[in-house]
Symmetry: C3
Subunit: 143 residues, 3 copies
């Protein structure tokens, strides 16, 4: 059996269906390069085998990570842009496991679990870049 | 007084405003049939009189359900597609009650509470179907 | 250095990037007036310096508010419409702090924290109004 298709064009952008084991960031970055996406807004949901959130520690200028496994991603919201010539995905998400208690935060990593993750990608028409802003210590999307 | 309109066409799809007592799945499924929607991405928010989440138990191949009443739906994300010739809504949501603690998961049912639920429906141009995949025990949207 | 741009037109609407200290409601309301937006669906995410949720108390007909500071907004969903000739933003959101436990509800206020909040605004082509409905004690978007 041939490998199932992961992405199709739809009016205004793309629909992506990722499958067990797929890395969401890798697939988004590949699509940005292959389809030459200047910028986009994304949203999605599905089942995560593993999801890593991070909360930024401004003191040490890095994210404190936390991993969760086998949780429903109840909502993912983000944008696709570029930084130093490379794809730069920025996304936040909420998730919940079998107790239905929701957790969430800035998304550092996401792999699809037993099921799928469906993403809707709305493409914008101008190339947008993220810039590191020294005074706030964060990357900001430059319009 | 005539019954308030529940749905209007907007560029790229539909805007739906459901009212107290309305069943969200029923209204989405009816719209799919009446407007002959091949596939769509949906998002929404509002006030739920009752909401049922389910977490899938792969052992017994069914959802463990949990009901919540009178909660704000803080975000609903999903897709509309078809399965065996019938509308197949797939959506996840997050919700919170008066303590603001968020719960979430795969959506099994949703009825509007005292207020409304507003849905934005972005229509795609190709008919998409969900297929049950035996090896993972789940329905997956086929592109 | 000139003030960074907060909003650009994109196909189907606008992309908005708000910065530390910006008031999200003020910027959305200003955009509605300046761009003469008849109605819109919005979604966003980012870092909140302060966010105020409210849960409606039907007895006293007002929101019980709760404030949170320095939290990631993991998802914001809403609509823009008009009420009595003035912009009327209706939005719900989910957020989480350093413990990743999610909170959420009806959004009463939101100021950007150390970082940014990115909003995608999908414009509709008909002017929509909210009306207060006496029997349910809530504003409802009239289609």
């Amino acid at each position: 059996m041939s490998e199932p298709k992961r992405v199709v064009p739809v009016p205004g952008g793309f629909l992506m269906v990722l499958r067990q084991g797929d890395d969401v960031f890798e697939h988004l970055e590949s699509l940005m390069i292959e389809a030459d996406i200047p910028a986009a807004s994304i949203r999605g949901f599905g089942f995560a085998g593993s999801i890593r959130f991070g909360f930024f520690d401004f003191g040490r200028r890095d994210y404190d990570p936390r991993d969760f496994t086998d949780v429903e991603v109840t909502g993912l919201t983000g944008t696709l842009a570029w930084k130093d010539g490379k794809p730069a995905v920025h996304a936040h998400a909420t998730a919940a496991g079998r107790d239905f208690q929701a957790v969430g935060g800035h998304l550092l990593g996401l792999a699809v679990g037993r099921g799928s993750i469906e993403m809707t990608i709305t493409v914008h028409d101008q190339r947008l870049e993220r810039h590191f802003e020294e005074d706030i210590g964060a990357n900001v999307l430059r319009l």
